[in-house]
Symmetry: C2
Subunit: 376 residues, 2 copies
């Protein structure tokens, strides 16, 4: 599997045109494009261009409704419930996070829970929206069931990421992780590379540990059982119940508070996914002087980075630091996109009647241009 | 190491008298006793009677100041900052959580951050205070550094537990876990049993994995390096950076927002520990009908418990369920206390001039009554 690098403006232009062609407005297309390309800039390949095919298929199948707008169905000065009406997840989420930010600026705290949405890309994008404005931001989502609870054999929770961002110098704290030990995207990578999975990642249909990526992925798609372990594996001795618990926190703030669809039922409907999100923004001013708090955090983050390294290791990262480095590199040297994804983008162009080669000049699809593009 | 069982009223009476003898008021003594015995009732042995020695030593050494009262030093309708003035952690925490609950009942949300406190016992106690009143409750704390960040060799974060409770039927959701893979108490248990530690728990002074409980514990106490791994181990492939990230969330809501002492400096002072806490209460009414939300959560928890079990397993738990069963058993059959702990309680009685045998009738301390009682 080869990679080709494209400059940020090339992908930006392409991505924008794709969503315009799907019928989104200029502003909407720009918003969706920014969420997706931020993932690629941050080095989170699974959630950028590689994810375009999922939105393509969602719109084609009718689980994403491009014309629908999010609606506030319940509201207080510190909270809101948003019904996404099964529109595009990124647009619903930006709308909801902006609501949380607005409330945090007025009352100090805003919590917004969302039902009837769709995949929203990287959770960190929305947490960062708040930290860009001097606030602590939190974002979480449920998703199609993939996490098997401790001692179970059926996936009952999603990959359920939690993201938290907070202003700091020289760069913000930005934590963004699934509550499963890894995401499905990682299993797909091992599958494409034809490699056995590391120990402690996946379960077969009987609930036993498995290192066979193809079987595990097939079982997930066909809902035959098995899936991915919570952070902490599948035993209490390694903390399985803890990862399962963090996954539950996502459900509380997304599907439970919004009276939405819990993960075990997400993506089982013909006309919607039912995915739910939770967003929060907290103004540090409600605890004192925001500049002092920011300096206090910055000092602690620096102490962590400067603390003694394990023998053989050269760097201790604070959360969000790798993304900063990745963005710098990708803006300078281009964003790598793999050939499989390029084939998916070519399919997408054919579907939308866009001229693939007008964006990706001189790029020749390897072989006959036909690739395994996964099950979406 | 043998165990002896005592009825709840025996331990309640003893514990109350101990804190009265330390100079706490009737109300204060009752509050501290309830936090400690709730841990024992819930089966969290490490945080009940076994922990008495730590409070004893803290008061003796002067890091816990029994006469000091918590003070609100900053306040908004949705938040407060509490200075604990290095008083007893349980009293400061009950005070702070009550403040959060009061605010949640008025504005919908209350977040209270606390500095200059002490060990507060089980985080779940305070989260449950909110759920007992129909609210979602959250509690977290930092502590003496014991978690080594990913790729490090020096402990820079505490065991940093996060607890979340929310009303449900037939029993509430109650999640309460350290963000390290295990707590120090578990290492001490393996040490007492003279058993090698499981893989993936601890690091030696050079940052390499170690299964040697005595060495790891000695290194921790003497601050020679090493400690316990975050949830997810010490490698990114198993999600080490995630556990480290959850540990960071505790710091944000405890030491950072309160401008308090971060974990790497906690317990390095002669006259205080500097431990910080964070508490939050959220009223489900800010998202709609609390009864409907509760029923929605109860249904999901039931679906999890009823979901298919892994081959060889007979039960899937939801968080807080084990504690319910443990409490029922211990109220009926007594609370087990190990002989080492009994020796510590005997020492404590001698210190406070209380008559050990008036509480623990017919109990004979094994051997000469001298035990290894750890380093506190």
């Amino acid at each position: 599997m080869g990679y080709v690098k494209w400059s940020y403006p090339v992908l930006e232009h392409f991505c924008y045109d794709v969503f315009r062609a799907f019928g989104f407005s200029e502003k909407e297309s720009k918003e969706i494009e920014d969420v997706l390309l931020t993932a690629d800039l941050f080095g989170i390949e699974s959630h950028g261009m590689q994810r375009m095919v999922r939105y393509h298929k969602g719109i084609e199948k009718g689980t994403i409704h491009p014309k629908e707008k999010p609606e506030v169905v319940f509201e207080t000065p510190v909270s809101a419930v948003v019904d996404g009406h099964n529109g595009m997840g990124q647009l619903i989420s930006i709308f909801a996070m902006n609501k949380a930010i607005e409330k945090a600026k007025t009352t100090g705290i805003g919590i917004v829970t969302v039902r009837e949405s769709n995949h929203f890309g990287i959770a960190g994008y929305y947490a960062k929206m708040a930290s860009d404005q001097g606030l602590l931001g939190m974002a979480c989502t449920n998703s199609e069931a993939i996490m098997v609870p401790t001692f179970g054999k059926k996936a009952m929770l999603g990959s359920n990421p939690i993201a938290v961002a907070m202003p700091a110098d020289p760069y913000p704290f930005l934590f963004d992780c699934s509550t499963t030990v890894v995401t499905r995207g990682k299993l797909e990578m091992y599958n494409k590379m034809n490699k056995p999975l590391p120990q402690g990642w996946a379960l077969d249909a009987n609930g036993h540990e498995s290192t066979q990526a193809p079987t595990v992925l097939e079982n997930i798609v066909s809902k035959r059982g098995g899936g991915i372990m919570p952070l902490g594996g599948n035993k209490e001795v390694s903390g399985s119940h803890k990862g399962y618990g963090y996954g539950m926190l996502c459900e509380l703030f997304s599907s439970i508070f919004s009276m939405g669809v819990t993960s075990e039922k997400c993506c089982t409907f013909p006309d919607k996914t039912g995915i739910c999100h939770g967003f929060a923004a907290i103004n540090p001013e409600i605890f004192g002087n925001p500049e002092e708090i920011k300096a206090h955090l910055s000092e602690y983050l620096e102490a962590l980075r400067e603390s003694p390294k394990a023998e053989g290791e050269s760097q201790i990262y604070t959360h969000g630091e790798k993304e900063i480095f990745a963005e710098k590199d990708r803006r300078e040297n281009g964003i790598p996109v793999n050939d499989n994804t390029m084939a998916e983008l070519a399919n997408l162009c054919a579907y939308l009647k866009l001229d693939f080669h007008s964006y990706f000049k001189d790029y020749e699809l390897p072989g006959d241009g036909t690739f395994f593009t996964g099950n979406y």
